[in-house]
Symmetry: C2
Subunit: 329 residues, 2 copies
């Protein structure tokens, strides 16, 4: 009996996904993209893995897509949104306790010495950078307290140039891409070098992705039971820094399957893009070429951009490839 | 347009899950359970969170259930199946290279000195225990090689007393419970202290759970790109030991939501059971009371069993509560 019911459910699911695929095919996917080669390459790939009679057919359970977030799904200039939040929080802490400004990492924030942090970044001292910026300022907070802080920051945040919140800083063509993949039975994940706990606060609303599909750098927490109450409490220590080769390693831990589609924009995404591409998946690299509508930069792409060209990955030229950059207001 | 199509899909999904719930309700769930209080408590809980008009209603996206595996979903005596595999592998390695037997951890295995490992276990020297048994014997293997080893072991393994493979060592009442929860739109996960990579090889077939819903102790791997090929390669080092308080911490990392249902059988599950129960979820503890049909023991329950009784968690008395223990042959 159980067997029969499962069959019926699968049939129902299959019928509904088939309907969705046809609907998408009918209405032309990715409307905010110009009719360029990169758009066609994406559509060709998705059709090739989704159509039952295709030689490249991949069953739905194996249709895994992994996305970076900063610079891939939302604006990362002038600085990662998360770090802007961290700095704002550290300034508030110094206001309450001015003595903090005498020591690092607060000293660098107090003196606007971003060079201190950039030096850590350039020297790949990520563990130090991460512990100091994601660990120290929030150490001792319960997860509830951290979430409340993050929600408040996200609700109040306005981008210094565009004067909108994060809901206006996501790339409309990429949101359409996520929805197009979902409509074709992909399971879509984010793997960010930012803190996962922060992005989880926004990802359901922005991208329709539940927390279990949003992963990033994490701090070590402690599980505490006291006075009939249980709490997860953040320590000052880094648990996992999710950048570079750490991305495919975390993907394996979390999903246990290789992505067949991956999207990123910087050197930190290189290994994730290799992970998908080297066994026949599709990897795309967002190239920030549009100073007018967004930003133009090549910082942190010196390794990944030549590699993308050499390997034949699909490079998205924002200026040329996207009809719209941001969601309609 | 996008909005409309999503609505249709969700409606279809909802209709199919509703059908499944009704079908289950009609046929009486958990047929391998006796008509006992624990069974009724489970059914009452599932109905209370699933029925829209219930004051305890929980939307499907938040219906998360987490299970331990050894001793909760399958037999863990005379020793964890995974460790039996590890020992068999170490013996093969010593056959190929007898010098290995001169040093630990091989020496203990060669001399059948399980006391060496049990002392580590009793002293909670889990990191050492885990690195030595899960790390050392498999260090340097690619994930593909490890999976091939694990699949071969699982295919050949026969339980010393019951003379069956793992498919005959799972608890039929618990498989029914997993299916009952799934039919009521729960997402079911396993969090084991065993190595997750090992259990993932069996969990899809045994429990219908994809790798992304199976998590456990893990080794640190390296991501290597060489000769146009990418590989994840195991090191000798522990990445995460998933027992005790580490279980709720990993659950938060992986799922980002609290389970509302948890099941375990030993002290190592205590914190996971607290994590679900302390905010109104249901926690159940499997108590091994049936020497005749399975095993009778209270080792590693000295903390969790009194706690379960004190907190009013549902304790499953195997001898009394289960009509059948194993799947029909």
């Amino acid at each position: 009996m159980t067997q029969i019911k499962y069959t019926i459910t699968f049939a129902t699911l299959f019928a509904s996904s088939l309907f969705l695929s046809l609907a998408w095919a009918g209405e032309k996917p990715l409307p905010s993209w110009n009719d360029v080669a990169s758009k066609q390459a994406i559509i060709d790939f998705v059709q090739a893995v989704s159509q039952k009679d295709s030689k490249d057919y991949v069953p739905p359970v194996d249709r895994i897509a992994t996305f970076d977030n900063d610079g891939t799904l939302w604006v990362e200039k002038p600085l990662y949104t998360h770090l802007l939040g961290v700095f704002a929080h550290m300034k508030q802490q110094m206001k309450a306790d001015p003595a903090l400004a005498e020591r690092e990492p607060y000293k660098a924030v107090a003196s606007k010495d971003l060079g201190y942090f950039m030096a850590l970044f350039e020297n790949m001292a990520f563990e130090t950078l991460g512990s100091q910026l994601m660990g120290v300022p929030f150490g001792g907070m319960s997860h509830e307290q951290y979430d409340a802080w993050g929600r408040k920051f996200l609700a109040e945040f306005k981008h210094p140039r565009f004067k909108v919140g994060v809901e206006g800083l996501i790339y409309q063509p990429m949101v359409e891409l996520i929805n197009y993949l979902k409509a074709n039975d992909f399971t879509v994940y984010i793997f960010t070098a930012d803190e996962g706990a922060f992005l989880r606060l926004a990802a359901t609303e922005l991208y329709g992705l539940p927390p279990s599909q949003v992963h990033g750098t994490s701090m070590r927490s402690e599980f505490i039971v006291e006075n009939g109450k249980d709490e997860l409490v953040r320590t000052y220590r880094m648990h996992y820094l999710n950048n570079w080769d750490a991305k495919p390693r975390l993907i394996d831990q979390v999903i246990g399957k290789k992505p067949i589609f991956a999207a990123g924009n910087s050197n930190g995404d290189q290994h994730m893009l290799q992970y998908a591409a080297m066994t026949g998946g599709m990897s795309i690299l967002i190239h920030h070429t549009d100073a007018e509508r967004e930003y133009q930069y090549d910082k942190h792409t010196d390794k990944v951009l030549p590699l993308a060209k050499k390997e034949g990955w699909t490079v998205i030229d924002i200026k040329n490839d996207w009809k719209e950059v941001f969601p309609p207001k």
